[in-house]
Symmetry: C2
DNA sequence: TAGACTGGTTGCAATCTGCAACCTGCTTGG
DNA sequence: CCAAGCAGGTTGCAGATTGCAACCAGTCTA
């Protein structure tokens, strides 16, 4: 399976995140989970993915702690896949992908779906990288530094 | 190759974005581009990816308009792969992945890299989904609606 | 209690990936 | 200006991954 050998892990956090949700299906599974999909068969129906692939992905996502398996909320003996805190924190990633897709991968006339604030019905704000003081930063306004925590 | 047949495109913007950068390498190529990598051999060295795969990915990314091919900035006859506006707008996606990776995919003691504001040296603000009025929104605070632009 | 549904597993064919070898057009040292 | 080497690929092939279909064991329900 996705054998991202953890013995020589990447130092880059982007690469590590990509190991978890960087394949063809995992991200879409998480997206569906944000849309309150929880059951194996619901994921399969929504995504149209092969059952063996879905089973493998869900298993991997449970192993890394993005999902947890819970007893079904309808009282039956079946189980549900529910996002953990770690999984719910993927929300900004999914939304930034959504916003980019909306802007650049749709023709102007195409039907699409947009994300709106429950409270106001307004579309959510476009996500941006911000400085500590709240200014929007572009790629050229930032740089990476290496940090070695030495807090014994 | 990545045959995401455009005859039955997804309506979901997340899926459309995922078609572009949802594979094992494309996202990391873009990440490197934000780190000022431009040449084929530099990408190859940085990523350790097979040359045929890199060539295929760069070609696809040029075709969808994320990169453009420019003459080399050093005056040689070689070319460079430079992010377009569309490509630069992937920045929030890469940063949100980075921040999630930093928080959840590193042990506390591990060396990692973090993104800081050039101007202040401070780490950039954690990205969040915000309402039009600036409040942070969680997954439960939003919902999707379908929009069919009917502007003639 | 039979039949359908849930949540998978297994086998196999087709596709995709990555390695290595090769190739062509620049570029540079002598 | 010529040979050697580098940049930027392409091609062939073996192995890994994907997806389809068939099958199967529990669970539910009429």
């Amino acid at each position: 399976m996705l054998d991202h050998d953890s013995s020589h892990r990447h130092e880059c956090p982007v690469a590590r995140a990509s190991e978890v949700i960087g394949d063809r299906w995992s991200l879409l599974i998480v997206r569906d989970a944000f849309d309150d999909i929880r059951r194996f068969s619901e994921f399969q129906k929504s995504l149209g993915v092969a059952k063996n692939i879905l089973a493998a992905r869900l298993k991997a996502l449970v192993e890394v702690g993005v999902f947890e398996i819970c007893p079904a909320s309808d009282g039956s003996a079946y189980k549900e896949y529910v996002l953990t805190e770690k999984g719910r924190e993927l929300f900004p990633i999914v939304v930034s992908l959504r916003q980019w897709g909306e802007r650049f991968q749709f023709a102007p006339h195409e039907t699409r779906s947009v994300l709106v604030d429950n409270a106001t019905g307004q579309p959510v704000m476009r996500m941006a990288v911000q400085s500590a003081s709240g200014e929007t930063l572009g790629p050229a306004d930032c740089h990476r530094i290496r940090v070695t925590p030495d807090d014994v």
